[in-house]
Amino acid sequence: MKIAIFPPNSMILADLVERRGHEPLVMQRQIRKKVTSAEIDSPPLNITTKEPIEGLKYAAIEVPSGVRGRMALFGPLIEEADAAIIMEDAPFGFGCVGCARTNELCMFNIRKRNIPVLEVTYPTSSEETMELVNKINEFLDGLEDKNG
């Protein structure tokens, strides 16, 4: 099954999903498509003017272009997902997820899709981390059962 993860660049979430035989829908996949196309050649322009226009599918024109640009990358992952894992309260410097409004919009879009979703919070202690891993594994195994 294709599992959307949030933050979409989390190593722990992607690794756990892969270990259970599912396909994690990660941000890096989208980035790879962008950076290997010939037109982007100079840093730090990963995002071109096309992305805020593509983002109009997810947010209105009044929404800042930064949100729309990010949504142009996150949106297709959410649309493709069969299930999702959301880890809330991830540290602010968590790569590309530094925009709170985009994060809210992403979570809204995931919940709106009516797919199985596991919502957890970023662990702050050893006990919480172990609980998180067990919860994720339990959730992923449950998906397999449903899938037959």
């Binding site: 722990i12 790879r32 950076v35 410097g93």
Partner: protein
């Protein structure tokens, strides 16, 4: 000077006489049979970008957890010994490999067996040594490194949890009723 172009008028509904307004998700207009898949929920016309060229090459990072039984050198030696047509790079956290998807997936499967609970894998968007990201050219840490550093702190506990799995109950999040929501709103006042 040429006269300004007239905006195209939308087709009208024969019963109501109102103009047909396209909605998101309607791929074809019932009246005209026209493709509307490029019209967003927000009513805006969507720009369809061309898909990026895919050469089938992917890059993955192999991260050794804090309690890993093998070192970076051993990891890279093992990767070389597998003799797959890959680009292999030693890094401070483990190694990064790049190559055809099938080869990378097979190598990942085999390398995990060396230390199943302490080897973690992460996808990487930029190719190895890309001047836009490689710190040899840019100086300073690569953008994703700070996040990796943060997650690295949790890896010891993650591997412990993987080694000793426990049964836990996953609570299903359910929607609350409007009455309950009103009650919460009143309490928050």
């Amino acid at each position: 000077m040429s006269p300004p172009k007239k905006p195209e008028s939308l087709p009208k509904n024969p019963d109501s006489g109102k103009e047909y307004t396209p909605k998101a998700g309607h791929d074809k207009s019932p009246e005209t049979g026209k493709d509307n898949s490029n019209i967003a929920e927000t009513g805006c016309l969507l720009h369809q970008s061309e898909p990026a060229e895919e050469d089938g090459k992917i890059t993955k990072m192999i991260i050794l957890g804090p309690s890993a039984k093998i070192s970076n050198t051993e990891l890279v030696r093992n990767l070389h010994m597998m003799e797959f047509p890959l680009t292999i790079k030693t890094t401070c956290y483990g190694a990064a490999i790049s190559g055809e998807k099938e080869d990378v997936d097979e190598v990942i499967k085999r390398i995990r067996k060396l230390d199943p609970y302490n080897i973690f894998i992460k996808d990487r968007g930029f190719p190895l040594g890309d001047p836009r990201r490689c710190r040899a050219k840019r100086g300073g840490a690569r953008e994703g490194f700070h996040q990796l550093e943060k997650e690295f702190e949790l890896l010891d506990d993650v591997s412990k949890a993987l080694k000793n799995p426990r049964k836990v109950k996953v609570k299903k999040v359910e929607k609350i009723s409007p009455e309950e929501f009103k009650k919460i709103a009143r309490e928050c006042k």
